[in-house]
Structure formats: C-alpha cells, structure tokens
C-alpha cells in the first residue's frame, strides 16, 4: 500500500506506533471475553438468535418459557450471579451450563464416550436415616413413589449452610440419584447452552430434560458469590425441575426421558413439606 506523499514521510509510521501504544496489555482479550459472555448471559440474549430457524425458535421458546416461569427472579440477582459464576468458567473453556438458585452446574465436553448412565455414589456414601436427614437439612425431601424408599440419604452443605439432600437408589447395578435443593431454579442461564434442553412438564411444574451425557462438576454459590466446588466425574442424562417456589430437584442415572418423568411426577403427592 503506497503512502501519500507528504512533507513528513514518516508520519504514517509514527501514527501506527501511536496506535499500537493504545492496545490494551496482553491478556486483556481474555478478560474482555469473560465480560462479554457474562453480559450475553446476564441479559439473556438467546444463543441462537443469530442461528438458523430451528434452534432459534427453540431458544425463543426457552426464553419465553423462562420469563413466564421465573419472572419473579430479580434481574439484579441474575446479573450478579452471571458475572460471578461465569468468569472463571469461560477461561476453563466451559462447554455449556445451567444453574439454579445459588447453585450452578457447569459442563465440559466429555473427552471420551460417557459410560452408561449411572449416577455416581458421591455424597451417598454416608447414609442417614430420613429423620436425621430432615433435622440436618431443615426440610423433608420429596421421595418419588416410583423409586420407593431410598437406599441412602445424605445431606451436604453449600456455603452459607445451604443444605443439599441427596437420595440414592441402586437399581439393576445402576445408581439413581436425586438431589434436592431448597432453592429456586434460575432459568436465565439455560438460554446459552449450546444444545438446549427439552422443556417438559412435571405435573403442573416445568422441567428441563438434558439428554446428553457429559462430564460435569458442581459449583455452589453462597449469597456473597463465594464458590464451593464438587467434582462430579460423570453425569448421565438428567432431569431438572422445580417443585413449588422453594424446591429444585435434579434426577440423574435414568437413561429414558419417559422413565425420568414418571419418577418425577410420582414425587408430587409424597412429603416435601418445607
């Protein structure tokens, strides 16, 4: 590219040097990527608003559904959570994720084919009696009639003493696990998953069916955004749904959507008083 003739022939090069000086420091792109993705999520821009009609329509439905279902969730909470939660995850090349209440799960692409759906034994290793669990957790967990009494019950705590009750059943050499969180589902996050979950009905409630098997890990957040991390080596397909305004449930270890829904619906008339 020829330079214009000028009495100051080196002026263009000086201007280029000035421009280079205005770049941010190295690594500023990383930070910016986090900020931008956090904003995309916080403002609930559908991932596929720019995509072909199919996914776009699906994302739109997700957003519409989310807004109807969880419109009470404050925008402020959503924004804060998105920024606090997403930042380290983008750096870790998070594949996609969703969250509920102050609790978030993120997914990374599986490096090898996932084994047959089998919820891991994590958290169910130190069984409690139901009454003990109720005292520890401060609420009575729902028990799906379809599965009957759990083989083990465990209570763990997120920061801020937020309890998580896990019920486990061993069926045909597979582990079925139901985590119950006394928290609201924050659906805003689901609008960005690359493979949006199916929206399902669980009685009068709405739910999400995540068909894919992935590697996953838990992140839990307290009110101040402090993180508590729990490794979760494998998660099969999972059903996530809410029960009333104060309880969120997550079922894993059931391969079939129909079976998972049947189990979920069978929780409706059993216990669960908070």
């Amino acid at each position: 590219m020829s330079e214009p003739r000028d009495e100051r022939p080196e002026l263009p090069e000086e201007l280029r040097a000035l421009g280079r000086f205005m770049n941010g420091p190295d690594g500023v792109g990383e930070t910016m990527a986090e900020r931008v993705l956090a904003q995309i999520i916080a403002e609930q821009v559908p991932a596929s608003a720019v995509g072909p009609p199919g996914p776009r329509e699906r994302a739109r439905r997700t957003v519409r559904w989310a807004r109807q279902r969880w419109r009470l969730l404050t925008a402020a909470l959503c924004g804060v959570a998105a920024v606090v939660v997403l930042t380290p995850q983008v750096r870790a090349a998070v594949y996609d994720w969703f969250g509920f209440g102050g609790i978030e799960i993120h997914y990374a692409p599986s490096t090898s084919p996932a084994p047959a759906p089998d919820a891991q034994d994590r958290g169910c290793g130190a069984p409690l009696a139901m009454d003990e669990a109720v005292v520890k957790a401060g609420f009575r967990p729902l028990v799906p009639a379809e599965l009957g009494s759990p083989d083990s019950i465990a209570v763990t705590y997120a920061p801020g003493d937020r309890p998580v009750v896990s019920l486990c059943w061993r069926k045909d050499d597979r582990m079925i696990r139901l985590d119950e969180f006394p928290a609201r589902l924050d659906i805003g996050f689901t609008t960005t998953v690359s493979d949006p979950p199916d929206q399902v009905s669980v009685g009068r409630e709405s739910g999400l069916w995540f068909a894919q098997e992935r590697r996953a890990s838990f992140q839990l957040l307290d009110g101040r955004g402090q993180r508590w991390h729990q490794a979760q080596p494998t998660a099969g397909p999972a059903l996530l749904w809410s029960h009333g305004a104060h309880l969120t449930l997550r079922l894993e270890g059931v391969a079939s959507e129909g079976r998972a829904l049947k189990i979920a619906r069978s929780t409706d008339d059993r216990g669960g008083s908070l």
Partner: protein, 210 residues
C-alpha cells in the same frame, strides 16, 4: 504488525450462529486489542473498556445481519466507532486534549524499564503532540487517519468501516496527512528514536524530564 490473534472468523461465526455462543469468546479475544485501540483513538478515554464490551455485545446481537464472507474487523470497528461517539456524546464530554495527554502519561509504565528514561519522556511528549494535532482535525480527517494508520487498516477496510468509497478515503487521507503535518509543532521530529541534539529537541527533553 499483528493486530490480534489469527482466528478463522467464518468458522467461528458459523459456530455462534449454530447455537454455540461460547465460540464468540474467540472473536472477542482476537479483536479486543484493536477494538480498545479504536475506542481510545476515537476519544473514549477512561470508558474505552466499557465501550469495547458494549460493542462486542452489540456485534453479537446483530451477528445475524453480518454478511457471510466479509471481514469481521471493519464491521466490528464500525460498531466501536458508533459506540464511542454515543458514549462521548451521552456523557456530554468533549474530546479533551488534556485528558488524552494524562492518559498517555498514565500509560507510561508500559514503556519497558530498560528504555532510556529520557527517550521515553520524549516519546510520551510526541504522542501527546500527535494526539493534540489529531484533535484539531475535522472529524472526517481524524476518522480516516485513525482508521488507516492508528488502526492499521488498508484502504479497502477503511472504506468499509467508514462507509466511504475508496477514492474518498484516498483523497481525504492525503488532505488529512498534509493538515496534520502542518498542525504538528515546527521541528517535530519523525524519527522513532531521536538522536540527542541541541536546540529545540534538547529543550523539550529537559522540559519533559522535570
């Protein structure tokens, strides 16, 4: 001169459109440097990072209108330029030579410690002079100089970013450079590392070192 990481823009944009918003991070990483440069060069000052974040966000939202096969950079920088203009206007702030000079001085730690402090001081002053002269140009002239040189875009990219015909870019650039040369202080040196010399250069050196 590199102005960002090499990224297969077309492939990344296709992934984002296919519903993989995380892929957008690659574009952000690759173009943050140049976008910040544009925002600062166009007068965003301390708001440069916010302007760039907002620009990337707007670009994401309108990625559906991005024309396949065209270059992402000029398209993005057009958004950055608009966003910068809106931010400056909204805040009711004028482009301030004093503020820009202050920003240049603040940025001094970027100069390697090994650099001769006297040379560094002269460079800081020269940057301030260039910015001050740029501020005196008309908006059209300033835009063309910023895009073509500070942002290191070629004529075609400049034309695309500014929405002008290439002939217009060329003629305005010529006029802008001539004007800029006239606006710079007499005796302004154009060598990258000025040789120590008596007279005006030395006086400036002393002034800057105090």
């Amino acid at each position: 001169m590199e102005v960002g990481r090499v990224v297969d823009e077309g492939a990344v944009i296709a992934r984002v459109r296919a519903g993989e918003p995380e892929a957008y991070a690659e574009l952000v990483r690759a173009f943050t440097g140049i976008a910040l440069r544009a925002a600062k060069a166009l007068g965003a000052g301390a708001d440069a990072e916010d302007v760039v974040q907002q620009s990337f966000f707007k670009a994401y939202r309108s990625l559906g209108r991005f024309k396949d096969g065209s270059a992402f950079k000029p398209w993005l920088l057009k958004i950055v330029a608009n966003e910068t203009r809106n931010t400056v206007r909204t805040a009711g702030r004028q482009r301030s030579v004093a503020g820009r000079e202050a920003a240049m001085v603040e940025a001094e730690p970027l100069i390697p410690e090994s650099a001769d402090p006297a040379v560094a001081a002269v460079e800081v002053e020269r940057r301030a002079e260039l910015l001050a002269a740029l501020d005196l140009l008309t908006e059209e002239h300033r835009l063309v100089v910023v895009h073509r040189y500070l942002l290191e875009m070629d004529e075609a990219e400049t034309a695309q970013a500014l929405g002008w015909p290439r002939g217009t870019v060329k003629s305005r650039l010529n006029r802008a450079l001539r004007k800029l040369g006239q606006l710079l202080p007499a005796g302004h040196t154009t060598s990258r590392v000025p040789a120590p010399r008596p007279g005006k250069g030395g006086a400036r050196h002393e002034r800057a070192s105090r």
